[in-house]
Symmetry: C2
């Protein structure tokens, strides 16, 4: 053998199938595409506004958390030092503050021990899917179009996924029931349903309170767990906040996913899942699902960064564990942005013009996202032209669809732009849409 033989190269066909699944490129695109067209205005990524953030605030948040601990019985300087420095409790150290905040903000009353603090909500999804899905026939239902984080995590674990078409008001109970029956008919076992009841990513749709009640009944009747993801619930544009499924959940059918990425600080990468279900062991002994999840979390990332938790913990303490109130300014900002987005679409495409073009869009009650249906294929090539020729970025809805849907739709996010950027951006988008429509039309 020569001293230096050619470096081994790996054949991608020999690597895990997820790596050649377009699904897994979507998330990277969302986070990294902006860099490819630095001059383009981006309606692409669902980044939160940076507000008045300054790096110096990080030290202040850390100090708030330290001050908070110092006031707790049993905490002295040595114990605080160890908490920040060392490995720690797998399920986290700010679970009590999160439980208190959930009660204040959402009326969700759960024991702190049922909160698993994770490295962003993404890890919570991975850990929960790993725990709940044991056999090849176990099937995850997802309201479709669907956030790629959960379908991507399922792909990593080779979990079967079944899309459930969303209606105009989001996840539809009848469609869920039909999917449950279809999966069973094919020999599968519907195990859980993932959905975003409020201001869904990507569709912007929200469920009515009645639909939430029906869904919980269905979950009970069909022995289905519900994975409720609520990253955007604070950001109400019209009407009143609706109760979360978890706050209505009398039979512990719901696992509740939360994120601080939109409501506190994305850079901290702190999320959580509430898992207050009981688990029955072989001798009938009972444990909390959260404690079972900790075993899996110990093999994904061990404990979540103590420093990140301390920063988020400090922000929670500073808000009096009332994060909804602390987000009042951000909520007003997103509301005004979505209003501007809708006004500008209306201005460029008044009813007669959009009827001519076959163009339409929804009017979400809140959140970051709306969907525009266009008279041409909104694919990667169209996005390239949009960015290069018109300086505007968006996300193809087909990235969020399993079933070949969304081909004529694009998702617009208004969260990370200023009023003036939205006005300018929708002007650019209008020129792009007119140009594409003209080409498509003949």
């Amino acid at each position: 053998m020569p001293a230096t033989s050619p470096a081994a190269a790996l054949d991608i066909a020999e690597l895990h199938g997820s790596l050649t699944d377009p699904l897994l490129d979507a998330m990277n695109f969302l986070n990294e595409a902006v860099g490819r067209f630095p001059e383009a205005l981006s309606f692409g990524a669902g980044r939160p506004t940076e507000g008045a953030f300054e790096p110096e605030q990080l030290a202040q948040h850390l100090q708030s958390y330290i001050n908070h601990l110092e006031q707790q019985p049993g905490w002295d300087r040595d114990r605080i030092r160890t908490l920040l420095y060392q490995y720690g409790r797998t399920n986290g150290v700010i679970h009590d503050l999160i439980a208190r905040t959930l009660e204040n903000d959402e009326g969700i009353v759960v024991p702190p021990e049922s909160v698993v603090v994770t490295t962003g909500c993404q890890e919570a999804m991975l850990v929960v899917l790993r725990a709940l899905f044991a056999r090849p026939e176990d099937t995850l239902l997802v309201s479709s179009p669907c956030y790629v984080g959960v379908t991507g995590a399922a792909r990593l674990l080779d979990i079967a996924v079944r899309p459930v078409p969303e209606g105009a008001s989001g996840p539809d109970t009848e469609a869920v029931l039909a999917a449950v029956r279809a999966v069973r008919a094919e020999g599968g076992r519907p195990r859980a349903l993932y959905l975003v009841p409020d201001f869904a990513n990507p569709s912007g749709a929200s469920m009515t309170v009645q639909a939430r009640e029906r869904l919980l009944q269905l979950a009970e009747q069909e022995d289905l767990l519900v994975l409720e993801d609520n990253p955007y619930g604070f950001f109400v544009r019209t009407g009143s906040p609706r109760p979360t499924l978890k706050s209505m959940d009398r039979n512990r059918r719901v696992l509740y996913f939360g994120s601080f990425a939109k409501t506190a600080l994305p850079g901290a990468r702190v999320g959580y899942v509430v898992a207050d279900q009981e688990v029955v062991g072989p001798q009938g002994e009972r444990t909390l699902l959260a404690d079972e999840l900790s075993k899996i979390k110990s093999m994904t990332t061990v404990n979540t960064s103590a420093i990140s938790q301390a920063v988020i913990g400090g922000m929670l303490v500073e808000s009096g564990c009332r994060l909804r109130e602390a987000n009042a300014e951000a909520t007003a900002y997103y509301r005004a942005n979505m209003d501007t987005l809708l006004d500008e679409l209306e201005r460029h495409f008044p009813p007669a013009r959009r009827a001519e073009l076959g163009l339409h869009w929804n009017r979400p009650d809140g959140g970051f996202f709306l969907v525009v249906t266009v008279p041409f294929a909104a694919d990667g090539k169209a996005l390239e032209r949009s960015a290069r020729d018109h300086g505007v970025l968006w996300t193809a809805m087909s990235d969020f669809c399993f079933d070949g849907g969304g081909r004529n739709q694009l998702r617009l996010s208004c969260s990370a732009l200023t009023h003036d950027q939205i006005v300018e951006g929708i002007g650019r988008l209008a020129r792009f849409i007119e140009e594409e429509a003209a080409v498509a039309g003949g």
Copy 2:
């Protein structure tokens, strides 16, 4: 249906099999058992010393990183603010500092783009295993006894694992070759070998330089990837540091796992993997394995906490990207601790007495761990007696063995105790061993 029917309970037999695998309890035990016996001296967990850490240093490290960025071309205050606040590059932002540190400390010269910054080394293992293991027959070889983090991650992904018995000098090339052949004979495909060449956890064993060379040759000959994990390499007790496999790797056979948990700050949860292998796509296009790993990482935790990375980045900058030198004091501390541990074992069990008892232990060249072989079953019940009756904790070696091995062995870690605690703790352990031996002997 009544308004409130009994809460649904989940049958553990319906959850993923990893949850009933004793393997996954081991890590939680390591991190949490200490709390059960607060008065006991613990030789259990491999925690690093807290040294002179004070919480206020976190703000200082953050500032060091900010100052560093400000000196880089193209970085202004806005960009720094966004880096700390927002979602970021999936593979991390301190990859360049890590690459520079690896060159200074280990003579490992790799492009920064080949470094994937992860949420602790645990996430690096999970992501790498997911990428490399595609088919049921793909088998992970692990040097045994083996760190539970890697076997646990394999368990989450239902990856077949084959233990390779370690020799007195750690992983043994002949045993690896025999395992490769045995796996092939059974229809499996040996895909990669995981090992810790320096001061292994749990055995404390280290490979000779010659054994490293032979192992790299074998990897080339058998088309095997090598997963080299090096959390303890700085902590040399006797002799000189030996070259890492990665620094000797001419054909990119080695993926190198690194951790800042032992050398900087465990609470930050920052680790990394060097993956400079090329991947060949279906049209012959070439990508870097690190970039393929980013697709998977985007579905495990998205990017690693920017705040944690900034703290570690600040520590790297402060050290001039020479972390080995920055660890000189810690290294001296661990050296003295291991010396004390060996001296005290010798004092309580001089040659004649240990021959009588059938007691022996190894003398590691560095690191945190050594192994004591005892004349009784070192199991969970023995540990309970040791903690309750003698106030001393250790780890059962059987927790690290797949094949029923290690039943008469216990692992002692000397990293988180003071000199006086080690002296007192080995006194307690000696009384425990004498008592157990007396009972076992008759």
